[in-house]
Amino acid sequence: MARYLGGKLFNIIISLLVLATATFFLMKAVPGDPFTQEKAIPPEIKANIMAHYGLDKPLGTQYLVYMKNLFQLDLGESMKSQNRSVTTIIKESFATSAKVGAIAIIVSVIVGIYLGMMAALRHKKLIDNAAMFIAVIGISIPNFVIGALLQYFLGVKFPIFTVQGLEGPLDYVLPTIALSTLPIAFIARLTRSTMLEVLTSDYIRTAKAKGLSPHAILWQHGLRNGILPVVTYLGPMTANIITGSVVVERIFGLPGLGGHFVESISNRDYTLIMGITIFYAVILMAARFITDIVYIFVDPRIKVSGGVVKK
């Protein structure tokens, strides 16, 4: 098992290095720089500023300097927001994204699994059809449409919730709905299809024959296998949601990481682009890593075979 996890960890580090390198050179290949602006600043001032940020050096040197700083966990200063370090920007905006994201994930998992289970148990009955109909809608309507509709109807037309900001607990309602619609739909469908398969398998029949209560069969034997695909999906989904949805944060005007993601690129804020990309990658890979560990507990076959499981 240690070998299994060690191998995974090694892969993560290599992937991060490749990612950082690729991002660095791709980013520099895009025309323009942080100080390209409509009202041209005199070339002498610009040269002076470029030199200050080390942008006058050859690309290779810039890369080496960046990587050296990166190994010391120094992400540098933002080139757009002066006097602000990239680490601080990420820390502050991630706090918002993670808070909203965590609520959305909890809601998604509870509601999604519940809907999926109900659909599987009442297979081909009304509740199944209704749940799956909802799921199809949830998957096919993009969250910026849902977000804008929610904002208009529940914020402006019937001002039950605020249209922007996170001042009180109620302010979390609309962003949470907008964020969790897609994951709920996805989880519900995943749960339903696996549960349908699981509920007709031999060991469930055995459990029934042993005379276990339907309740115990469902929750102790069914769900454990039934949620395996959900666990797989949950890793990347968590990474995705807690790092901030660009669209939802924009609609509800939340100071999260998502906005910085897009803005840093249009600003050519090199240090911030690198910082956020690496941060996102770390979160994503950490989520996968944790998923792998969770697998070991949910699926004992992995522990036995040292990670080589044919799925």
């Binding site: 895009v30 025309p31 323009g32 720089d33 390209t36 602006q37 409509e38 009202k39 041209a40 600043i41 005199p42 070339p43 002498e44 001032i45 002076n48 500023i49 200050h52 940020y53 757009k80 927001s81 002066q82 006097n83 602000r84 920007i89 502050e92 905006s93 809601v107 509601v111 209704a130 909802i134 809608i137 949830g138 804008a148 904002q151 208009y152 529940l154 914020g155 402006v156 605020t162 249209v163 922007q164 900001g165 001042e167 009180g168 607990p169 109620l170 302010d171 979390y172 309602v173 949470t176 709905i177 924009r250 609609i251 005007g253 100071p255 906005g259 910085h260 803005e263 249009s266 050519r268």
Partner: protein, 541 residues
């Protein structure tokens, strides 16, 4: 869908309902003014700021030697009086004795000297991008660009004593007293000497204006409260100014409609264009539309065939219908432009554009066809080659489509439209890598020169490849004299060369700015270029 929403809403209500008692704070004190900045101010350090958002915040926080009143007239600020030498190159400012910083320290002439020298310092960390706003000061450019002057003592700014500031200029600059109201010329408190990050957080921030910063939640909101040490604190009625930083124009509008903002739209926000049209049609009383001293135009690449030919340029410019563009496409009350200097800029006695009419050319399709044929012949071409019109994202696309359509219909020429990402676009435009490109220019200060000196040969903002010695000479002439009539005459002649004789660019319209303002907001002032001074606002509910 409905059912699902219902389920979710009720679920969320259960989750959060318990806590809802301690819900959101109300609209707060009566004298609170709320507007949207759209983004986090990139820098509130006087030396580093260079954009509209930072400028809007700084307007409340600082006061320069002079101030502009609601009519745009220069009135005393920190300086209560000043003398100007006969050659208009030396100013002596006398600071008022009761001017104080938000921490109680007196505002001294040294604070101004320090600020200006700091901004011009080529070794500032990082160097100030807007330092060229101080190039009017004697040796300012030379010191900042390390061109022979390395000693800051040689700069034309000197504190004679605590309350007297002496400023020497490179050239007589009739609008210098307007510049001293501009944010790059604000003073900086001495604490910046030991704390380079003085402008990063609310707790370290020291300012000398009507307000001081009470909170700055980065990326979210920024709050100002009155500065009790401000010398004219009796004029300040607001108890709080709250800026939000919401990027989406639709959300901003929703906030205004639900009473979370008192002001939406320019200078730092935006009203979605389709909504704006709706408000105009229903004659919304809260909607204000005003000229903003900016011109929307197209760059011709004067170095590239066939746009190097004046007849071709004239033909293209005469073949479009500007009135249709402003009425059917942009729809925000813009004014068709036939000159370069926008409306709202001072001339000799009144507005320049009223004194110098922009009748340099007329739209005329028949004449345009003739000119195009002649021009192409001169270039040895039989027909207009397909060319590209490039522009950045946003509304510019609909304008470009309309113009391409007019060219196609009126001249039978084919134009390819190309939308480019902002910085890619700027890069291409600045390196003359285009045929025709969209452009816009807003006034930095209230004088035609802010437009005219742009197209001198080799000028930093001359991105059309225009070279004209006569034009350069006129600009120089206007720079050298102190006589406003002679200056305006020279600049008007230059404009005629640029547009009338050469049609080096294609003017399209003079910008307007639109905002929705709640009826209870009184005593705001919006200057010629659309900047908002909110410091004297009163809320009369």
């Amino acid at each position: 869908m409905k059912k699902k929403l219902l389920v979710l809403v009720s679920l969320m209500l259960v989750l959060t309902g318990v806590l809802s008692a301690c819900g959101k704070s109300g609209s707060g004190a009566d004298q609170e003014f709320r507007m949207n900045l759209t983004t986090e101010p990139p820098s509130l350090d006087v030396s580093q700021a260079q954009d509209q958002v930072s400028f809007t915040v700084l307007t409340g926080l600082f006061e320069g030697l002079t101030r502009l009143d609601a009519t745009g007239k220069v009135v005393p600020g920190v300086a209560e009086k000043w003398e100007v030498s006969d050659d208009s190159k030396k100013y002596t400012f006398h600071l008022r004795s009761d001017a104080k910083w938000s921490n109680g320290d007196p505002v001294t002439a040294q604070d101004f000297e320090y600020s200006w020298k700091r901004t011009l310092d080529p070794n500032l960390n990082p160097p100030a991008p807007y330092a060229y706003q101080l190039y009017y000061i004697k040796n300012g450019a030379k010191y900042n660009t390390k061109d022979g002057v390395t000693d800051a003592a040689q700069l034309g700014v000197k504190a004679i004593d605590e309350k007297t500031l002496e400023v020497e200029l490179e050239n007589p600059t009739p609008y210098f007293l307007n510049l001293t109201a501009f944010f790059t010329l604000y003073p900086i408190h001495k604490s910046a000497q030991t704390n380079a990050n003085w402008a990063a957080e609310a707790k370290d921030y020291i300012s000398n204006g009507p307000f001081k910063m009470s909170a700055w939640k980065h990326g979210d909101s920024l709050e100002l409260v009155p500065n009790e040490n401000y010398w004219a604190k009796d004029e300040i009625k607001l108890s709080k100014v709250k800026f939000s930083m919401v990027a989406d124009a639709n959300t901003e509008l929703s906030m205004y409609q639900t009473g979370k903002l008192d002001w939406t739209g320019k200078p730092t926000g935006d009203i979605p264009v389709e909504q704006l049209d709706k408000f105009r049609k229903e004659n919304n009383k809260e909607l204000q539309i005003k000229g903003v001293a900016s011109t929307y135009y197209y760059n011709f690449n004067n170095e590239k065939k066939p746009f190097n030919n004046v007849k071709v340029r004239k033909a293209l410019s005469m073949a479009i219908n500007r009135t249709d563009i402003v009425e059917k496409v942009t729809k925000a009350g813009q004014v068709p432009a036939y000159g370069f200097v926008s409306t709202g800029i001072f001339g000799v006695a009144g507005e320049y554009r009223s004194e110098v009419k922009d009748d340099y050319f007329k739209e005329d399709v028949a004449e345009a066809k003739k000119l195009l044929a002649e021009g192409l012949q001169e270039e040895g071409m039989t027909e207009m080659p397909e060319f590209t019109l490039s522009f950045n994202e946003g509304l510019h696309k609909t304008v470009a489509e309309a113009i391409a359509n007019m060219w196609k219909e009126n001249l039978g020429v084919n134009v390819k439209l190309e939308v480019q990402e902002w910085k890619v676009f700027l890069k291409n435009r600045q390196s003359l890598n285009y045929d025709i490109a969209r452009a816009g220019w807003g006034a930095d200060y209230n004088d035609p020169m802010t437009f005219i000196d742009m197209f001198t040969t080799g000028g930093g903002n001359n991105d059309i490849g225009f070279k004209n010695t006569e034009y350069d000479a006129l600009v120089k002439e206007a720079y050298a004299t102190n006589d406003q009539k002679a200056r305006v005459d020279a600049m008007a002649k230059a404009e005629k060369i640029l547009i009338g004789d050469n049609q080096a660019i294609m003017p399209i319209y003079y910008y307007t700015s639109a905002q929705l303002i709640k009826p209870y907001v009184k005593n705001y002032s919006v200057d010629f270029s659309g900047n908002l001074d909110y410091s004297r606002i009163t809320i009369e509910k």
